[in-house]
Symmetry: C2
DNA sequence: CTAGCAGAAGTAATCGTTTACAATACCAGG
DNA sequence: CCTGGTATTGTAAACGATTACTTCTGCTAG
């Protein structure tokens, strides 16, 4: 019905109803200092009968604690980030609300969201940056509230704030290396957008493995943007010429796009062509064919980030921590 | 670094720096009333050099507008709800922050989150309820801020607040009907948890179709909980006895579980057994085999919800709107 | 018997905005 | 040159909590 009855019940109403002062009500509610049992009872009574709920804005204004943490990721519909968020939730959600936003891999949108989030509505920001906002981010971390970087770590921010990232270089290196050991002669690599630090590091890892272990490997590269569509386009691109022995996609979504395109074109994955992916693919167990991928464990990563947040909130001056988590290379067969 | 320099820049600092009153600064910032050009310039100058950001809590306290909307769903990692959120974002995100939370299909957790969200931190709540909190929800809608129900619509809340739901009964009916027309003799149905209104309505639809079109159909039912694991258990359950001609799962995740289990057991979907699902399955195009499902279009649903939110915010006393969107039955073959 | 103190409750200032209201300046008409 | 209006700007009171500080008990120890 959404009826009026505007003007909410305030702590004053409760105080009046219980015949005590607002200070006492506040103390009962927060347990900040002892209150006689009978008064406690009267206050609690009043709270429930009036249906009082404290006003978060007022409390935040006064205490400078928002009891919320912000999470800003490039693509909230990507299961990878979703799992990270779940991980953070695992650790934080009892005491904090999570304010989430998605930049859609756009620096501009990210900037807008960063500005909104830094209007004192959160206590800490967990951020996987789309890139291009290093200055703003640094300013937020220094002036507003601590930032914990996840997944993406631009050089200019490294060691200036807490972070949890993967060993992208190493994992990509190992992934390519493992394909090389299979004896492939040609390889197609689908890169992510170079504005993302992960894409850049993974690309370096790939190239390094090639240089070191198979300098004569015929490599073709396609610059994607971490979306499934760009994975499809990459495959179309590669299949223009002689089809490569193997294709690797530098994130899960592009791998999905690639697989779907390959299957549509009649390839049997793991037989006609070898496929590698940085990151697991949801429901991949449903597919016939084999896949080699870097196992990312985003939920663990999220938990780590959550712990860093807690630590940082507890002690704002603790020294900066940078976690670099190592991944496994996994082979899946059916 | 997270250095101190605590005490943020306030509107007072800006006013002082620009040599005007706080009222003028506020007016420049919000464009609420005309200000002479030179003052505007000086204020803007001050804002940028000082790096001023308004304090959202103070503004919310004063204006009673949080510029945020809350979204509470039973499972934020389910792509279905994720797409709904995307849809809401499409419509709302320019002007509002989205505060999201997941109840994990638990009434208790939902209640806690409802309480937190209703502490005046949002202007409107979009809710897919896990069930069991009808009273609390009604109170929030009446006393705190408007609620728009999505996906789930408990009877006791129908017509009391805005809603966007699917025609669950009809869709489930049609899905079963379409299988019956294939000439199946036996059917396994994997239900969702009856605390969810959708599960109940879908179950009714299924049963009604059976009664009406194939009263002699051998039906077996399994009570799941909308998770993939429960889909797997259901298949195990069904395969204890004589395996049914067809199995349908009443949501996407349970269908994923069922498919995965069936494939593991060597069934070729669409050949050895017919599969139906309420809701599409991400990346299903990757699978060999055919599937018949109810196409849900969650993103559209989210957009509709977003529009209702906007309308409700514009006019709190507008009459209650209930959208019931119809679905298509889709057949997918490979 | 009273000073002193601890415990419990109340008073009122404060957080950073917005905005009703007051004040001021400027200008035209008489 | 004064009056009344309009256009800007300023002053200060809210919004609803928390909390430093004050006040008021009642009790104990000297």
């Amino acid at each position: 019905m959404t009826t009026p009855s505007r003007r909410n019940i305030t702590i004053r109403d409760v105080a009046r109803y219980a015949g005590v002062s607002t200070a006492t009500v506040s103390r009962v509610l927060n347990g900040t200092s002892p209150v006689k049992d009978d008064l406690v009872a009267r206050v609690e009574q009043a709270v429930t009968t009036l249906g009082y709920r404290p006003n978060a804005a007022a409390r935040t204004l006064k205490t400078r604690k928002a009891n919320a943490i912000g999470i800003l990721v490039p693509d909230i519909s990507n299961p990878y980030f979703m799992q990270i968020i779940k991980g953070i939730e695992d650790v934080m959600a009892q005491d904090y609300s999570l304010l989430m936003a998605s930049s859609d891999e756009s620096s501009k949108k990210e900037k807008r969201l960063l500005n909104v989030l830094s209007e004192d509505r959160i206590d800490c920001l967990v951020l996987a940056t789309a890139g291009g906002n290093d200055e703003v981010i640094r300013a937020i971390d220094e002036k507003r509230n601590p930032v914990v970087l996840i997944d993406r770590l631009p050089d200019s921010l490294a060691n200036r704030m807490d972070s949890v990232v993967e060993d992208n270089f190493w994992s990509a290196y190992e992934l390519v290396h493992s394909l090389i050991r299979l004896g492939i002669q040609s390889l197609g690599i689908i890169h992510g957008p170079m504005s993302a630090s992960t894409a850049f590091q993974r690309a370096s890892g790939c190239m390094s493995a090639v240089r070191q272990h198979a300098p004569k490997l015929r490599v073709r590269e396609h610059l994607g943007d971490y979306t499934a569509e760009s994975g499809e386009r990459a495959v179309d691109d590669f299949l223009q010429g002689e089809s490569p022995d193997a294709i690797i996609a530098m994130n899960n979504l592009m791998a999905v796009g690639a697989i779907s395109r390959l299957m549509k074109r009649g390839f049997v994955i793991g037989k006609d062509i070898t496929l590698g992916s940085y990151g697991a693919i949801e429901n991949y167990l449903l597919i016939d064919g084999s896949l080699r991928y870097v196992e990312q464990e985003p939920r663990t990563l999220g938990k780590l980030a959550g712990k860093l947040v807690q630590r940082r909130l507890r002690d704002p001056d603790a020294e900066v921590v940078s976690h670099v988590v190592k991944q496994q290379i996994v082979s899946l067969h059916r």
